[in-house]
Symmetry: C2
Subunit: 401 residues, 2 copies
């Protein structure tokens, strides 16, 4: 039986970026407090959290202090050090959710894909590559282009390099600069994601969202996705299967491809039998995910509230859609880093159904995620109309002087 | 043109109770920070606010420090000292919203009623009383019962005493223990309220809510109210009129009576011509109000976000209803003060559409406001059904061991 008290339970979070900030915002109404560990003094989560420990994500002494001051540990970045978390948790008795072993599985994209494939979860063809010859062979087998990926450390498209021809393999490997893998380039109809939650003996999933990426950075999420019911059912089935493989409670962001029919030539050369409307797993994040920010206003409970509930072992909340919803990221549209000042937000503030989220980062940098806008539907608004309005709102603001 | 920056604007709030806490929760996504002034160390707003100044509400040195550290001052309790705020604002150049003169008008209920009546706003018959003879005369003129009210310092029904017969006048005056007024007892059909916002050259109002009080403490708010369209239009007109009288930007909680036809005997004795469905002003709070907590989930923007926008001079947000909504207060159901521990919250956490708000008070006391639950409608839910479920949720929890 859950009891609310003052002071309430405290969650220790490795990482204090925008995810930590929105986690703190969601925790406050429930009387739950956060202490975040982040190397940047006064990190985005700091103003809302109870306190910040200024330390590197893998600073074991810092993580020990975090564990000593909190009831449960979690993380909002994959850069958390799974071994340090495991040792600290064992020594302190403070549980970690999701389990550090899950972080270990996910951290190395090659290990992630192998684990998922071995569990029967549909993934695009992939292989480890160590040199240009390996990449050439992959192109022979999968057809060009292929996607070269850094096995660790990549995010927001960093470390993902499309290889169009064999001649590009050397340069691509050089830019990835470390252990790498190659994936067949998926001829997708749309990119979708499922924000799923693993609770204490229960799971939940939000409605499927459709994602628009540009330069491999998420720009927009549209809910509900334009997929057929059969496809969204299949996506949710895959998400449920993924949760079975993952160890530990929490929110998981599960990025998927909905495939389109492959062009005949490519089909012939690759030998693939990619069917229209198939679901292939792209990537998993063991934490709240950018493509789930829409849940704050668009769903009965947000992904952040769900993560709070899950890591504490509380009952999960309802995940139903409240209204068709679109979110657009506000990225740094600057050439060089500069003090963060987003101009022209009046239009966003004045638009009914629009909600502005500011992440509190001191500096705008090229394509850095600085905030987002969520637009929820009114009356009979279509997601197309919402998306059009959301894009207009995003176009109306700038970090440029 | 509004610009978002890091650090964003900081609001200094006199008072750090639950209203300050929910104000901080609403400010965070907009990059707006709060510093609160409150005499209770680690007050409810402290965990979410940037900082707390521990000082009495009327401690001028504390208010000076608050002004020095913030861009605009506001208050979440009427106990703020209007003269100190005026002096500090003048000396520091930090504006105060609403204006301290508004606080002065509202602080003394007799002054409040006179001001509103003189402006043509409909109020129940009232008069100043200094002794039992005055109360007797009021009973002769208005008919029994009458409501005896402390002119200052009363809230949550404290300082309001119904006087049933002339023989009760002495005791009632003694319990009020200070300057008092008497009001005709309004034979109301329902109590309603309008949460209205005065912005920079614009005003806004949320849909009319219906309030259920018990022992003069708000228990439930139901939106939309059961009133006719004509009555809700009239209520919003009165609210707009009230905003004209008030000086300074911010949210105002405007409590109204919707009258029912007075019984003939009372009518004859009092000479009133109270018509069915008339609107009479009960009380004004120059701040977010308990009867507006439903706006967090039930409206396009919350009363707290609106207060943040208003005091900063930003554009106001949309006030439309997202779905029929009911909020119920979680009051201390204890006989004696005890450590705050609310048992049995699982049912609330598990109910779709229910949102739990915990105020972070250390101690539960008899009838103290400890939190609230908001239930938003799904599909075709009626407010009657919502209210029934909300009451069940409230019944399922207890502060008793």
């Amino acid at each position: 039986m859950t009891t609310l008290e003052t002071p309430g339970p405290t969650i220790g979070v490795v990482g204090g970026g925008q995810l930590g900030r929105m986690l703190a915002e969601a925790a406050a109404p429930l009387g739950v407090e956060l202490v975040v560990l982040d190397p940047t003094p006064d990190c985005p989560a700091a103003p809302v959290a109870r306190d910040q420990i200024v330390a590197d994500f893998d600073d074991e002494a810092g993580v020990r202090e975090l564990a000593a001051r909190t009831d449960v540990l979690t993380f909002e970045i994959e850069l958390a050090d799974q071994e340090a978390l495991d040792r600290v948790s064992e020594d302190s008795g403070t549980p970690v959710h999701p389990k550090p072993s899950t972080l270990e599985t996910i951290h190395d994209k090659l290990v992630q894909k192998r684990t998922l494939r071995d569990e029967g979860i549909p993934v695009p063809p992939f292989r480890e590559v160590t040199d240009a010859d390996d990449v050439h062979e992959a192109i022979d087998d999968y057809g060009a282009p292929v996607m070269l990926k850094a096995r660790t450390g990549g995010y927001d498209g960093r470390g993902n390099v499309p290889v169009e021809t064999k001649a590009d393999a050397e340069d691509a490997l050089e830019s990835v600069a470390g252990p790498a893998m190659v994936e067949s380039f998926v001829n997708f109809e749309r990119e979708i994601s499922v924000i799923a939650v693993k609770g204490d003996d229960e799971i939940a999933a939000f409605p499927v969202g459709e994602n628009v990426h540009e330069d491999e950075i998420l720009r927009e999420t549209i809910v509900p996705a334009g997929s057929s019911d059969a496809v969204t059912d299949r996506a949710r089935d895959v998400a449920a299967h993924v949760l079975e493989v993952m160890d530990g409670r929490g929110v998981y962001g599960i990025e998927l491809f909905e495939t389109s029919e492959a062009p005949p030539a490519s089909e012939a050369s690759s030998g693939r039998s990619q069917r229209d409307g198939d679901i292939l797993l792209n990537e998993i994040a063991p934490r709240p995910h950018n493509s789930g920010h829409w849940t704050i206003e668009g769903a009965e409970s947000s992904q952040f509230e769900q993560h709070v509930r899950a890591v504490l072992g509380w009952p999960l909340g309802a995940t139903d859609l409240r209204a068709p919803t679109v979110s657009v990221n506000l990225l740094g549209d600057v050439e060089e880093p500069r003090d963060a000042a987003l101009r022209g937000v009046d239009r966003i503030l004045e638009t009914p159904g629009a909600n502005l989220h500011w992440y509190g980062k001191r500096q705008a940098r090229p394509l850095r995620k600085m905030g987002h806008v969520t637009l929820t539907g009114r009356d009979e608004a279509s997601t197309d109309d919402l998306l059009e309005t959301a894009r207009e709102l995003e176009d109306a603001v700038t970090f440029r002087p």
